[in-house]
């Protein structure tokens, strides 16, 4: 069985944030507006984090694109009282919106802050409603949502491969999620971590590779390649 993971090369990333917007457009995530943004209710399934160190003139900024980490040992799954979130047999941490009761234990437990609660039903401008992506359901108020590794695209790729009587190939997986497909710097890779020949597998073994908050034991499946000089 494949074990899906991602690699993001911070040496190539320029912090342009195309990934965050592509995710929004692909997954029908509504914008919050200025007032809701003030209340920290802005929803980014994918967000570019920014860290700052030092003082003028020796200042360093670091940009870290952060999707859901699709941990192998996810704290969100442990705490969910109703089994609305689970790790599937290919390592994707999934949401079952039907079961979610909106308690938000998962959002609290996640150390990466990737989960968002729907305080309201999504309010799209009428004109935009026509242009929603039909491959991704719209979530109602009362449920938590997060990055799915574009599971709908993965399913579509599997269907296509099955129709053509073949296995999935690495080349069609590397840019599969919307965030990867858009990246102007080609800094992102997706694929099967259990396939030693895959791009993500090789890059995950790079000496530059590290993971976020590894010490917490979440076993995230997103690897970062650090910037070099």
């Amino acid at each position: 069985m494949p074990r899906w993971g991602m690699v993001i090369d911070l040496d190539k990333c320029t912090g342009c944030q195309a990934c965050s917007v592509a995710c929004r457009m692909e997954n029908n995530i509504p914008f919050a507006g200025p007032e809701e943004t003030e209340l920290s209710r802005v929803k980014w399934w994918h967000k570019v984090l920014r860290f700052e160190e030092g003082e003028y003139p020796k200042v360093r900024l670091t940009f870290i694109p952060r999707p859901c980490q699709h941990c192998d040992n996810p704290p969100c799954v442990t705490v969910c009282p109703v089994g609305a979130t689970y790790v599937d047999d290919e390592g994707v941490v999934r949401m079952d919106y039907n079961r979610c009761i909106g308690c938000r234990f998962c959002a609290t437990a996640c150390p990466y802050g990737v989960r968002h609660f729907n305080w309201y039903d999504p309010d799209y401008p009428e004109e935009v409603r026509a242009a929603l992506n039909p491959d991704v359901p719209v979530r109602p108020r009362g449920v938590v949502e997060k990055c799915t590794f574009c599971i709908h695209r993965l399913e579509a790729a599997k269907h296509k491969a099955a129709e053509e009587g073949r296995e999935l190939v690495d080349a069609e997986l590397v840019n599969l999620p919307a965030c990867n497909e858009v990246c102007p710097a080609s800094a992102r890779y997706f694929g099967d971590l259990d396939d030693p020949e895959s791009t993500v597998s090789r890059l995950a073994h790079s000496p530059r590779a590290f993971k976020l908050l590894e010490e917490l034991g979440t076993v995230p499946k997103v690897f970062y390649l650090k910037e070099t000089s």
């Binding site: 190539k12 320029t14 360093r60 992506n133 039909p134 109602p140 080609s186």
Partner: protein
């Protein structure tokens, strides 16, 4: 009506009554839980080529369409500029199309200008009204009294607008955004355009504020080139030095950030040249064989621009100057690039000259890894316009903005209000606007407002009503880019010619019309020589005509025997291009003749451009110190204006909520702009993070959020430009403040005519309430 059994009830428990009702009518749980009635448009998905117009890059797009609905934008993998990717702006293109605040029909002004009272009218009425007035100018023998202001990106439409003006008999087709770099290239290399840069093969980038990772164009290409420079050549990583007044994203990702006083980039370049000359690190062969005036120029540099002197003028110490020069000259190939901001000072053109001279010093002209001349797409040339007496007479008139008062002037838009108010050189009778918003983007808005009142006819072709189009008499709304045919030659970057091509992705949503078609219809309605000059029935037919030569030449990525076949392939692929770039100093393909890329009077790179020496009697290296707007004692801080990656341009660009919600990553600020202040400086001023402050210059003041930023120099404050609209849509108005208010048009570069937008000094103080 579907019955609700117990199981279903439990599934729906806790969901709203509306959902229950939806379940009853549709029978689907998923539909019930989808509180938005999410209909799947019918049919198979198809992908249609388009061209983004949210910034001058004009990247190639592929749009996923279901039925008649566009549901996702991706980059066009076949376009070599953006190779299948988009920047954050391109991703929200759908929200420009599906936007509640678009103009949906032609509009006629009711009430006073600026009151916002509009009456929808038919296209027949609109064309008739505008054509009648333009015809009157022609009949009166004064066609020059019409001006058409436009701004990039407009693809071939910019050429169509210029052609329309010529056929009308007016010289006043005016580009709102001239630049200084193209003039520096004209003086040294003999062609008037920005150059391309072979970044992917350069090994050292010496950037003087070139916004490689923010607002330089074409964005996606540059972001990708950065990636190649860092990791695309294993074992041969490029080195990047960013010399600029603030810590930008480019400074963050560069190997070294060199903070510099704004306006002194040119003198630094001369200091670096001093080291290269005195240590004999220059490319002797190139300088001897391909350059003119090297002796005179180098003598002047050695006499006047020692590192010691330059250190005192720039705030950068001598050792750094020496080191930077050596690193640049010792690495080959190397590139020196001056960003747009360098040209927006009173010494802008001279500064760009100094920086570009560094490229010649190290032989980086028309070689791999160096400067290139962007080759045009070989389209059919425009025909000669049909000249009658009226047209001839009109075209002989001077341009209304008087750019010729500057030796290297291209447009002098800041003179337009005074020209209109004085009726000098002649009164303006009609002002046509496309993507031009001087009331928002130009200095002297009060003068502009007064001037606009004097113009009898103002017509806007924009798809959103913004500040200037609010003053129009008629709005003839263009389609958004997803609804029309677009042909866009690539702006200077890759060097080899690229044409991006887009077709309508969906049927027009509203009663709008493509500007290309409207120009033709106006021309036909006005008739006479103007009508004859447009023998095409619509814009696609005009494009077909332009593509004929491209088809006939039979070169590049599309080969076909008929224009129809060529068109079909072009529409399908969304792009045509032709590689490789024929470096004059390289050995790939067929190298170009040096006379092509060095088209000066001497046929060489001119360190001492003949125009400056002979016509203007200037002495090398032509540099003078910057003049700032405001005295230091009263206005202690330099003001740096910059543009974020998340800032789109054109009508509706500020009405895209997703971009507002990303806006400023480096300071984590959304939905509005701010002023970046060095924390120690802020402390001295008694200003804390999140305070509201006034930023005041000699000519205006704005109120902004103060953000303390370690990437700000102690004596320079930075403000992102593009927000602070008072019109344009529900997500545009009232978001942020407009820093263009702080700019004065009285301070210009006397050579190029460019306003010294980056030469403003300001004072900062806390707002009292």
């Amino acid at each position: 009506m579907k019955e609700i059994n117990r199981r279903t009830f439990l599934k729906l428990a806790g969901v709203s009554a509306a959902a229950a009702a939806l379940y009853q009518s549709s029978g689907s749980i998923l539909a019930a839980l989808n509180v938005v009635d999410q209909e799947t448009p019918p049919g198979e998905a198809r992908w249609v080529s388009s061209v983004c117009q949210l910034c001058p890059a004009e990247c190639g797009l592929r749009v996923r369409v279901l039925g008649d609905v566009a549901v996702k934008i991706e980059g066009n993998p076949q376009n070599p500029s953006n190779h299948g990717r988009t920047c954050p702006k391109g991703q929200v293109g759908l929200h420009l199309l599906y936007n509640p605040d678009r103009v949906r029909t032609p509009l006629k002004r009711m009430g006073e200008r600026g009151e916002g009272q509009w009456q929808p009218i038919s296209w027949d009425e609109a064309i008739e009204a505008v054509a009648t007035q333009l015809l009157a100018s022609r009949t009166a023998g004064t066609p020059e009294r019409m001006a058409f202001l436009y701004e990039r990106p407009v693809g071939l439409l910019a050429e169509a607008i210029t052609y329309f003006c010529q056929a009308m008999g007016t010289p006043n087709g005016i580009d709102m955004r001239p630049d200084a770099l193209s003039k520096a290239i004209f003086l040294t290399q003999g062609w008037d355009a920005q150059p391309g840069y072979d970044l992917e093969r350069t090994r050292h980038l010496l950037s003087f504020g070139y916004a490689l990772l923010e607002s330089a164009q074409p964005s996606v290409h540059l972001l990708s080139a950065y990636s190649v420079m860092r990791r695309g050549r294993p074992g041969d990583r490029a080195h990047i030095v960013q010399i600029e007044p603030r810590l930008s994203v480019t400074s963050v990702k560069a190997d070294e950030w060199v903070p510099i006083q704004p306006g002194t980039e040119g003198v630094l370049a001369l200091g670096l040249a001093w080291v290269i000359l005195s240590e004999h690190l220059y490319d002797e062969a190139f300088v001897t064989e391909r350059c003119h005036g090297f002796e005179a120029w180098s003598q002047a540099v050695l006499e006047g621009y020692s590192p010691e002197r330059v250190a005192s003028l720039t705030g950068i110490d001598e050792r750094t100057i020496t080191r930077l020069a050596r690193e640049f000259a010792d690495t080959s190939p190397a590139l020196a690039i001056g960003g747009d901001a360098v040209g927006q000072q009173t010494n802008g053109l001279a500064s760009q000259l100094a920086i570009h001279s560094l490229n010649a010093l190290v032989g980086s002209v028309d070689v791999p890894g160096g400067v290139m001349m962007q080759r045009p797409v070989p389209l059919t040339p425009w025909p000669e316009v049909s000249m009658d007496d009226v047209t001839t007479q009109g075209l002989a008139q001077p341009r209304i903005d008087g750019p010729e008062r500057y030796p290297l002037g291209h447009s002098a838009v800041h003179h337009l209000p005074e020209a209109i108010l004085d009726g000098d050189p002649y009164p303006l009778e009609a002002l046509l606007l496309y993507r031009a918003n001087p009331l928002q983007e130009s200095p002297d808005r009060e003068a502009w407002q007064e001037a606009l009142k004097q113009v009898p006819l103002i017509v806007s072709f924009d798809s959103f009503v913004e500040e200037t189009s609010a003053y129009a008499d008629y709005i003839l709304p263009n389609h958004t880019f997803l609804e029309r045919w677009i042909a866009a030659p690539l702006l200077p970057s890759l060097g080899y010619p690229v044409l991006a091509f887009g077709q309508p992705v969906v049927e027009p949503l509203y009663d709008t019309r493509a500007l290309g078609d409207v120009l033709i219809q106006l021309a036909h309605h006005i008739g006479g020589g103007l009508g004859e000059s447009f023998p095409w029935k619509d814009y696609p037919e005009l494009l077909r005509f332009r593509l004929e030569d491209l088809m006939t030449i039979g070169d590049g990525t599309i080969r076909a025997d008929t224009v129809d076949a060529f068109w079909q392939q072009l529409a399908e692929r969304g792009t045509w291009f032709n590689t490789p770039y024929p470096f004059a100093g390289g050995d790939e393909g067929k190298p170009a003749e040096w006379e092509t890329v060095l088209a000066t009077p001497s046929g060489k790179f001119e360190f001492t451009p003949q125009m400056l020496q002979e016509e203007l009697s200037l002495s090398p290296p032509y540099y003078e110190p910057p003049r700032y707007v405001g005295q230091e004692d009263e206005y202690p801080f330099h003001l740096r204006l910059y543009t974020l990656m998340t800032q789109a341009s054109g009508p509706g660009a500020a009405n895209l909520p997703h971009l507002h919600e990303l806006y400023g990553l480096h300071v984590k600020q959304m939905w509005g702009n701010w002023v970046e202040i060095n924390p120690e400086t802020a402390h001295e001023l008694g200003i804390e993070e999140w305070d509201e402050v006034w930023v005041e210059s000699l000519v205006g003041k704005i109120r902004l959020l103060a953000r303390l930023y370690e990437g700000a120099q102690p004596d320079t404050v930075n403000i992102p430009a593009g927000l602070g609209h008072t019109a344009g849509g529900q997500w545009t108005e009232g978001i942020g403040a407009n820093p263009e208010i702080l700019v004065s048009s009285s301070y210009v570069d006397e050579l190029s005519g460019l306003v010294a937008r980056q030469g403003v000094r300001v004072k900062i103080y806390k707002a009292s309430n």
